[in-house]
């Protein structure tokens, strides 16, 4: 193995690691705020990428119908309460859950997004997939928000299986790719760097900075942090844990869908790709103890690099090596941190 190969592998590892890092951040965020281990995180990766593929092929993506159905369900459940709370509340709810999906559906069916520029298509794919996050939170997690971590985990597994099944129904069994955002490639010290991999790294870095600013500077970000630190205390301060949950899932869905859209030109995405990608992000998040954002991101980068180098040395055992990483990390964490009984 010479320097050239090491550099190529390193580059590959960093690009994959950047995606894992985004997913790791989303997983840490969701867990910190809602105590949900969000296994379906990966499904948003596949949904984001494949929705974009459908739009580019000129089909109406299945996720569009899912958004319509979930919107109607949320409106039906929350309608009576909103009705009692006044006309403004009701109008807001109906606008978000019924009008918005119909406007998007009309846009997809009527405006032929097939011929749009790529960035507009990406935006359209995002506005279709991202609302699924808060909708699923409202329908699936909110009714059991106070349950134990174990119950929430079981709910996550069930939701994951349901979403994978829907993915197969919506997008079929075979994979797809999207055209690259940029065909450019650069020569850096004898190493060819593709424009798309710069997009991935750049977008990931930008998103991480944006999340930092959001949590440090904005009121909503501070509210989320407060909820993560102490749910009861945050509620006493007038922060709605329901709103915090929805906001968290909105962010998680956005990060997931964007990750999928970023890697779709580099690799083939299948309806079930998300699970494995999400799982590797999860390994990164575990390195950070599901609590620390910078350590989780670093852990995810480590997973990407480890994956890349082990695929060179021992390709048949690549997954074994990557997932075995979790054992020494858990041993080390359990030796160095004090175990705190979860408050019931």
């Amino acid at each position: 193995m010479d320097l050239q190969i090491a550099l190529l592998l390193g580059q590959d590892g960093v690009v994959n690691g950047a995606i894992y890092a985004l997913l790791a951040l989303a997983l840490v965020l969701v867990f910190a705020v809602t105590r949900v281990i969000f296994i379906p995180q990966g499904e948003f990766v596949a949904y984001g990428a494949l929705t974009l593929v459908s739009l580019q092929a000129g089909h109406a993506p299945g996720t569009l119908w899912l958004m319509l159905v979930l919107g109607a369900a949320v409106a039906a459940i929350d309608g009576p309460a909103a009705w009692r709370q006044g006309r403004r509340r009701l109008a807001g709810l109906l606008g978000r859950q019924l009008l918005y999906p119909f406007v998007i559906a009309a846009l997809v069916l009527g405006a032929a997004p097939r011929d749009w520029p790529v960035l507009l298509q990406v935006a359209l794919a995002l506005v279709i997939v991202v609302p699924l996050g808060p909708q699923l939170y409202r329908l699936i997690y909110q009714p059991v928000a106070e349950a134990s971590v174990l119950v929430l985990l079981i709910v996550s597994v069930a939701l994951h299986l349901a979403l994978v099944g829907l993915g197969l129904l919506f997008f079929g069994a075979e994979g797809s790719r999207t055209p690259a955002f940029s065909e450019a490639s650069f020569e850096v010290g004898g190493l060819t760097v593709s424009g798309q991999s710069l997009w991935v790294i750049g977008a990931s870095a930008l998103l991480i900075v944006a999340l930092y600013v959001f949590f440090e500077k904005s009121l909503y970000g501070k509210a989320l942090r407060a909820t993560a630190i102490n749910r009861a205390g945050a509620r006493l301060m007038g922060i709605s844990t329901t709103l915090a949950g929805k906001l968290t899932f909105l962010l998680a869905a956005a990060i997931g869908a964007l990750s999928g859209i970023l890697i779709a030109p580099i690799t083939t995405i299948y309806y079930d790709t998300g699970f494995l990608v999400g799982l590797k992000g999860f390994v990164g998040a575990i390195v950070g103890g599901l609590a620390s954002y910078p350590v989780a991101a670093a852990g995810a980068l480590l997973v990407g690099l480890l994956e890349s180098f082990s695929s060179f040395w021992a390709s048949a055992f690549k997954e074994v090596i990557v997932f075995t990483l979790i054992i020494p990390v858990l041993v080390w964490r359990s030796l160095t941190t004090r175990y705190v009984e979860e408050e019931e």
Partner: protein, 383 residues
């Protein structure tokens, strides 16, 4: 009013109970229509809907169950078909591990079974259990021979192998290595990747470091495109070979221009229209593609669905023979059907010509495979 609905209910119950009537012939089908092998199982499932609903004047019921590409579910479904639906013959499943597990169940119930999975181990050797089992897809060894033959003729001396890290890749490597060794073809690299991998850069760099004359990629469906695209991106200039596992339209769509000039062995049904008119397979294969495309759109036929169609053709030839000896639903009929399947001679199916014997429960010869090249985004017959 109440009385009417009650009697209606009774009639409905009676009708439901009477479905596996003794007179009908019940075919139990297990396919992997969901899960990782869904790209094989879905066209197979679609194909059963196109099959004739009666053979030799006997009404046929196809009872189709999905095993979700899971071995346990495949076995469970097989038992359900045998005990609840009282099927006379089992067709399935789509992949090798599931089919191997089903062999025991079918043999235990003394029921003939036709597998749609590739591995030779399903029907070979024909022992006490496997005497009940037949299969329609070509053995990997037949396809490997075709590839090695083509490589030798093209002057290839060294070859690198990249395959799935599962039974498919492992099986291919074993067969390919055996034949390559016999023909003095050196395998300089042996790499594995997973179906859902997002990157194969490591494997590709290792392969390219050995500077092989050709690369063989052993994957099925669209996942087989990733190594080829990465090899092209990193500038590999040698010859590319794929296996018959990629023979569907989605692979061409995903791989695009990066797959131009790739060679692969395949069942003749893939290039049915290009076969010479003297080839008897042409008519049968075109008949299937026409039927499938009429129902599911032009260009959507895959060779996997054709394996299911071929199982149907075997039944259409064997059932009339068995009907002379016994009535469907009886133990005797199952045994007679098994004997009839084993006795099939010169039956033309969409993938070749079948000559079964007590030692060979596949019955294909070299007419069951052709070499194909990808040209202008389509399959082109080359020999």
């Amino acid at each position: 009013m109440k009385k009417v609905s009650k009697s209606l209910l009774a009639a409905a119950v009676a009708a439901v109970c009477a479905t596996p009537a003794l007179a009908d012939l019940n075919v139990g089908v297990v396919v992997s229509a969901t899960g990782p092998a869904a790209s094989l199982g879905i066209p197979e499932k679609n194909t059963f809907a196109l099959m004739p609903t009666s053979i030799g004047g006997e009404k046929i019921n196809y009872i189709i169950l999905d095993d979700a590409t899971d071995t346990t579910t495949a076995v469970k479904n097989t038992r359900k078909l045998l005990t609840e639906d009282k099927v006379d013959v089992i067709v399935g499943s789509s992949i090798t591990p599931n089919s191997l597990a089903m062999v025991d169940v079918a043999a235990e119930a003394a029921t003939p079974m036709i597998s749609m999975a590739a591995s030779a181990a399903i029907v070979d050797p024909v022992d006490a259990k496997r005497r009940w089992v037949f299969k329609t897809p070509q053995n990997d060894v037949q396809m490997s021979t075709a590839i090695v033959e083509h490589m030798i003729n093209a002057g290839v001396k060294t070859v690198a192998f990249i395959g799935f890290a599962d039974a498919y890749g492992e099986g291919w490597y074993r067969e390919f290595a055996k034949i390559a060794e016999a023909r003095k073809l050196a395998i300089v690299a042996n790499e594995r990747y997973n179906r859902a991998d997002t990157s194969v850069t490591g494997q590709v760099l290792k392969v390219m470091a050995t500077k092989p004359d050709a690369v063989l990629i052993a994957g099925a469906g669209t996942p087989a495109a990733l190594p080829q695209k990465t090899l092209r991106e990193k500038g590999y200039k040698g010859a590319y070979y794929q296996t018959h596992g990629v023979a569907n339209k989605d692979f061409l769509r995903v791989c695009g221009k990066d797959c131009e000039g790739t060679f692969l062995p395949a069942g003749p049904v893939l290039v049915a229209a290009q076969l010479p008119g003297s080839n008897p397979i042409k008519k049968v294969a075109l008949d299937y593609t026409a039927k499938y495309e009429a129902a599911h759109g032009k260009g959507n036929t895959s060779t996997f669905g054709a394996h299911a169609w071929d199982a149907g053709i075997l039944l259409q030839n064997a059932v009339p023979v068995a009907l002379k000896k016994a009535k469907p639903g009886s133990k005797e009929f199952k045994a007679a059907l098994r004997d009839a399947l084993e006795g099939l001679k010169n039956v033309t199916v969409s993938h070749g010509i079948v000559n079964m014997s007590a030692q060979d429960h596949l019955g294909f010869d070299q007419r069951a495979r052709v070499m194909v090249k990808i040209e202008n985004g389509d399959w082109k017959l080359i020999q």
